[in-house]
Point group: C2
Chain length 384, copies 2
């Protein structure tokens, strides 16, 4: 096990009817910006619940934060925050809104070009405190300090992380997710699944508890995912998916172990170039990446096959291929294709992705930094 430091200050407020507690979490009299997405929260009653809970504060609103939140959109909110002297930002929506809010919170206090927050060149010294009412499980943004922002004008999609943007609190009421389209729930389950894989499927590092906890999240997603798709208003499976997605990326399962994140790195470029849903890029990249890297990942792939998919006989290669096929089957069962061609994307994507990645310097992805340009190309060509 490697040395690690873990601190996660977010207060998680989980369960039915908890939005009513909002007023206890934000200082009375504060100037609060409520940020949201396309307006579905106005139809499903969440917006009304939030407003009726938020008595006694001075409210501002910012709607229209899109999936894969856009830098140019968010900069409009930064303007409002600065002009109005907003003291707290409340994200109401899924991970995209919350990622956007994290960026707004950091950018509002930054001197200089806010894009440098994404390129890693900014020194973030403070941020406006934020909270969230989560209405879509998947990204894990509700209990971590990470954010992914897109810039459509330049076909870029980049991530940042900073302890100053941990949500002060996140309210997770599984009932708010009943009205979500199946596509969004399927995407959320797949996203959480791949988050775990990125932190688990590398090489053995003498960390049996981290391994088992990662496997626990995977097994829960595999069992509960299909149930929650079939019965959207079954509280139990919705609650289990929501908690599993949070645990998938709140840092607990990855303390002291190597991490990969190449599937996300490549997937972000596919979203930036082709506008694919985030989870749909992951479902295309992951199986191909695992096949390309089955030698370096062999020990953990066999463990994954045995413990998660229950393949206990056969050669290592047979177990590995069976586990990858099961993973593909799982994505398909969520309604998510596992090939680029299903999205009308062909081999030309390989060169474009590598070009985009190269723009920011040498490509060296994966737990060992050995996923270089040619490897990315192979992964994508095999994924067509």
């Amino acid at each position: 096990m490697d040395n690690f430091t873990y601190r996660n200050p977010t207060k998680l407020i989980f369960g039915k009817g908890r939005i009513a507690e909002l007023s206890q979490e934000i200082a009375p009299g504060s100037k609060v910006l409520v940020a949201y997405g396309g307006g579905s929260i106005r139809q499903n009653g969440v917006y009304d619940q939030v407003l009726s809970a938020l008595q006694g504060v001075e409210l501002f609103e910012f709607g229209g934060i899109e999936a894969n939140p856009d830098f140019d959109t968010l900069m409009k909110a930064v303007e409002i925050v600065r002009q109005q002297g907003v003291q707290f930002i409340l994200s109401v929506g899924g991970g995209s809104v919350l990622d956007g809010v994290k960026f707004i919170a950091a950018a509002a206090h930054l001197e200089g070009d806010p894009w440098t927050i994404l390129t890693g060149k900014a020194e973030i010294k403070s941020a406006i405190p934020i909270g969230s009412v989560l209405t879509l499980p998947g990204t894990g943004s509700e209990m971590n300090c990470f954010s992914v922002i897109s810039r459509r004008s330049t076909n870029e999609k980049l991530a940042f992380g900073n302890p100053l943007v941990y949500p002060v609190f996140s309210i997770l009421d599984p009932e708010t997710t009943y009205s979500l389209p199946k596509r969004q729930i399927g995407n959320g389950v797949a996203d959480a699944f791949v988050h775990v894989i990125e932190q688990y499927l590398t090489y053995p590092s003498d960390a049996p508890l981290q391994d088992r906890m990662a496997e626990s999240v995977l097994l829960t997603l595999i069992e509960e995912g299909p149930k929650t798709l079939a019965n959207p208003d079954d509280y139990t499976s919705r609650a289990n998916i929501m908690w599993a997605a949070t645990m998938a990326l709140n840092g607990i399962i990855s303390v002291g172990v190597p991490q990969d994140w190449a599937t996300h790195g490549i997937g972000h470029e596919l979203t930036a170039l082709y506008g694919l849903d985030h989870a749909r890029t992951l479902a295309v990249v992951l199986p191909s990446l695992l096949r390309q890297r089955k030698d370096v990942k062999q020990a953990k792939l066999v463990q994954f096959a045995e413990r998660v998919w229950d393949f206990k006989t056969g050669s290592a290669d047979e177990k590995i291929e069976a586990a990858i096929q099961k993973t593909e089957g799982f994505f398909l069962s969520l309604g998510i294709p596992v090939k680029l061609s299903a999205h009308q994307i062909g081999e030309e994507a390989a060169k474009r992705v590598v070009q985009n990645l190269s723009r920011r310097g040498e490509i060296a992805l994966g737990e060992d930094g050995k996923i270089t340009g040619p490897v990315v190309e192979k992964i994508l060509i095999e994924a067509v």
Copy 2:
């Protein structure tokens, strides 16, 4: 899954050589009380590491905090803290020292009788910030807000919990535990094991992730416990035990699920009356309690037998008895007896424990409040 709120602000600083980072965690110029136990930290080099890291603060010392920290001992430290205006308390030692420090931190700011902190009658409005350098894995105190305090003058042992006494940070360097006596390591592993059982072995509550995470900790303790006893200076198994013990009681595995804690409730009385090591009381009480309660706990006991001890055939009763015997075997393998008679304690203990418990009101322990006086008596008589 039940509604829950989870917030754990402790910063965990885990790994080799991390004590040197102490100075970054405490404000320079602070008045710091270093609290410790019997002085073993002076022999194993930890004391020197702490002092050399703690440059630039005004140091006070308080040694002699015993296992099962005593109210009267701790009140002497409260005096020092008040007189000197101590601003930060650093616990250097195991869970007993840290539990004691939590009490000192709360008591120093309390008006009125500090014993009311333990009886639940005090309103704790503030506490002195605390940190810890942990030298013994087991209690989980390093990442929670709970504390158990004894009062030998009245044969009492009571617990309290308050968010104000979360350690600001805890430094866990597995190397500091190499020199521990086997008895203390065995106790720590058993203590952590029973912590998990108290949060897991109740009744099904539609929380598959919490179940699997609890099982993950149990399996890790079962695998790594014997290894770390056999090879005290094997870093890997010591690190795994240390992390497992923290995860066993930092609240993550018990969100939204019922909890038992009757084994601890009964065990505390055995320590208060007979001075038994805490873990040794648990190893005696737990198997007998599980047998007495095998009907109400049937579903989870079968799951425990199947998933933790790999008993997949036979009747429910056979699986359950096999799992309880395996649990006894595990305690014995740690050098811990599972019968009261091994401690020269007979049936008379049953009435004395019930008397002690009754003093504070009606006895209603367990996840369903149905472990009454007569049930406690039976559990203890069968444990002789």
